[in-house]
């Protein structure tokens, strides 16, 4: 019952790895954590979802907010390592089309 993020700044892109459950309870902390990604300045953003077990609409909203901020700056947002259940949630909500899923 926890949520953890790890942020890594690389030459060409910003990487944030998610671990655990991004539910409503965890979303406010996640929002804080994701603020660093708003200074992307054209660099690409990679959201590593390998260890993300769960996401609720509160989490989806954070992702949506991020892409709305990043796109005008010319940054791409990539999602990696999603499991099938998570992938289904993205499919259902049309989010698969908004992100570049690897």
């Amino acid at each position: 019952m926890y949520m953890k993020t790890t942020f890594k700044k690389e030459d060409q892109h910003l990487v944030m790895a998610f671990e655990g459950r991004l539910d409503t309870a965890a979303s406010s902390q996640a929002e804080e954590d994701m603020r660093v990604l708003y200074d992307c300045e054209g660099r690409d953003i990679i959201l590593d979802c390998t260890h993300l077990d769960y996401i609720s609409s509160s989490g989806l909203r954070l992702f949506l907010g991020l892409i709305k901020n990043a796109r005008p700056k010319g940054s791409h947002v990539y999602l990696t390592g999603m499991n099938d259940s998570l992938r289904q949630v993205f499919d259902e909500t049309g989010f698969t089309a908004l992100f570049e899923i690897l």
Partner: protein, 630 residues
């Protein structure tokens, strides 16, 4: 503190001994000096008596003769009422006489009670006669009252009214021609010798008085000192008593507070047929370091028993910390090893006094009988008549970052768990024999073969321990808890219930509850996640929209599993809010055009098979159903 009291006590005893010795000494000195004086005086008096008896008899005869000779002349002057001549005559006689210091001449007091009398005596310095009207009631004097009766009379010695002198008076009646007594003439003879003797006695006494007074003064000072010391001690004792009183009343309050921390209503769940609990805690002092607790949440019983190292107030403080941590953590955590790790981290962080707790935590799933438990150095609880296999693990608070590993077992219906602290097995009788594991185990076996009642087991155990230790003082806190579990025979349906406060941080708890139900219903992980998502969205919507802006309220969830359907009913008494009335979001729009809201209801619709909203009275009722595909 103790040393000071000791010194004071010995100091007082020394002072008392000195005072007693001094008193004895004073008495002894007084006794011997008095005895010496009295002996000497008696000797002197005896000698004087012998030599002076003759002299006194001579003196008496001389005075009697003088008076008798005077009488006819005095009678004549009296008859002629020649007062001046009478006075002159008496003065003349007085001048001639050496042994007589004064004459009294008093008329007989008649019926009118008028007194008339004169006293003529020699001035001490010049020896000249002085005349004085007698102003006291001479009729009370024996020389008068006896003198008027007839013959001459010698009075007992008495103190003169006019001179500081002891004297005797020889008195005789003065008669008229008819022989009637009209006046009394008295001659005063001083007892000079006797006076001298008295003075001597006094002087002798004075000589031995100084050392006695000195000794007495020292005695008084000592006595004052003792009294001062006693008063000081009494006052100090009173202060100590007041302090003791304060501490014991505070301890009593602490005792009550500590007792209030423990669940004490038994049976705690009278409406449940599957669970009965009984516990008892007897601290060795007012407060102690033992504790037990249990919490029922989402069809899971969280229970613990713990024993803080040490006794009394320090142990009680740590116990309070640990037991409140247990309450807090069990509100949202379900893994006993995680709860233990959390308590351990907070305890070990600032554990300057190296206190530690042995703690056992169990989580019993009442729907399945599955028990997950984790032990931190505590005694193995009994499951029926056998000890539960436990990993020992380190006690809580010993080291931080300890990995605790949980264990699992499944309880069959009708099992009684017995938990205890070492106050039970290590209870000692007066020969320092311990109650021991074996006795405890035997009582468990015997009692549980007859009944599974937790209260009976603990009553039996308590009685056995009391019989064993008899009147030996209890040396350690004694705590026992028994839990009996009877698995409900599930029919075709199961129902579950949870109440959440209006707080989105409760969602992990919700997720856990939903997952448990879904697992029971046999759903796979993906579906479980989807149902979870749908329920979370529904509940978060209620929290956000039915109870807007942090208003308070509960969200009531009920779940029923039937052979084909899993039904969730979410009820709240907030503002009317119908999630099903929300329009569908367009999931095909590009990101820039997508709204941030509306996703929740979309997911609810997608992942549940039916969604139904009702407003009944003041309540929103949302029913969500999912088909179970076996």
């Amino acid at each position: 503190m103790k040393t000071t009291q000791q010194t004071t006590k010995w100091g007082s005893i020394n002072v008392l001994i000195a005072a007693a010795l001094l008193l004895e000494l004073t008495t002894a000195v007084q006794y011997f000096s008095m005895r010496r004086n009295i002996t000497r005086q008696l000797t002197e008096m005896a000698q004087r008596d012998v030599s002076e008896t003759n002299h006194t008899a001579e003196l008496k005869r001389e005075v009697e003769r003088t008076t008798t000779l005077m009488l006819p002349i005095v009678e004549r002057y009296t008859a002629n009422q020649a007062d001046d001549s009478l006075r002159l005559y008496i003065e003349q006689i007085l001048n001639q006489q050496h042994d007589i210091v004064g004459f009294d001449y008093c008329h007989v007091v008649g019926d009118d009670g008028l007194r008339d009398g004169i006293y003529i005596y020699k001035n001490d310095d010049s020896g000249k006669p002085i005349e004085q009207h007698i102003d006291f009631d001479f009729t009370r004097r024996s020389w008068y009252s006896e003198g008027i009766k007839g013959n001459g009379f010698w009075s007992e010695p008495y103190m003169s009214n006019y001179k500081v002198i002891l004297m005797c008076t020889y008195s005789a009646p003065v008669r008229d021609e008819q022989g009637q007594t009209v006046a009394v003439l008295g001659a005063d003879v001083p007892l000079r010798e006797l006076s001298a003797l008295a003075t001597q006695i006094y002087k002798n006494q004075q000589r031995s008085l100084l050392p006695i007074i000195l000794l007495h003064a020292i005695g008084l000072i000592l006595l004052a000192f003792i009294i001062y010391r006693s008063i000081r001690n009494v006052m100090r004792l009173q202060a100590v008593d007041a302090e003791k009183e304060r501490i014991s009343s505070e301890l009593l309050v602490a005792h009550r507070i500590q007792q209030a921390m423990l669940p004490k209503t038994f049976p705690p769940f009278p409406n449940r047929g599957d669970l009965d609990i009984y516990a008892s805690l007897t601290p060795a002092r007012e407060v102690g370091g033992d504790f037990y607790d249990f919490v029922l949440r989402d069809e899971k019983l969280f229970f613990c028993i713990g024993d803080v190292s040490g006794k009394g107030v320090p142990a009680a403080l740590v116990m309070a910390m640990a037991s409140s941590a247990f309450r807090l953590l069990t509100e949202h955590e379900s893994a006993p090893e995680y709860i233990l790790a959390q308590i351990n981290d907070s305890m070990a962080r600032d554990n300057d006094y190296n206190m530690f707790i042995t703690l056992f935590i169990g989580v019993l799933d009442l729907t399945t009988g599955q028990m997950c438990y984790c032990n931190a150095g505590h005694k193995a609880p009994m499951i029926g008549s056998l000890p539960l296999p436990i990993k020992p693990n380190l006690p809580i608070g010993a080291l931080s970052d300890v990995k605790f590993s949980a264990q699992e077992t499944t309880l069959s219906s009708g099992t009684t768990i017995f938990l205890y602290t070492d106050g039970l097995t290590e209870a000692e009788n007066n020969t320092h024999e311990q109650f021991g594991q074996q006795r405890m185990q035997t009582i468990c076996t015997d009692t549980l073969s007859q009944t599974s009642s937790p209260k009976s087991l603990i009553d039996r155990m308590t009685e056995a321990v009391h019989d064993f230790v008899s009147d030996t003082e209890q040396s350690d806190d004694l705590t026992m808890m028994a839990i009996s579990y009877n698995k409900m025979q599930s029919a075709n349906s199961n129902s579950y219930h949870i109440i959440l406060p209006c707080d989105v941080s409760q969602t992990p708890r919700l997720a856990e509850w939903v997952e448990g139900i879904c697992e029971d219903a046999g759903f796979g992980p993906t579906t479980i996640m989807q149902i979870n998502l749908a329920i979370e969205e529904a509940v978060v919507n209620v929290m956000k929209y039915a109870y807007p802006n942090g208003s308070e309220g509960d969200v009531n969830l009920e779940a029923v599993t039937e052979p084909d359907w899993l039904t969730f009913t979410i009820t709240d008494d907030g503002r009317p809010f119908d999630p099903t009335a929300q329009g569908e979001v367009d999931t095909t729009l590009p990101a820039e055009e997508r709204a941030l809201g509306g996703l929740g209801i979309h997911l609810m619709r997608k992942y549940m098979d039916s969604l139904d909203y009702k407003r009944l009275g003041n309540r929103n009722i949302l029913t969500m159903r999912k088909h179970i595909n076996k």
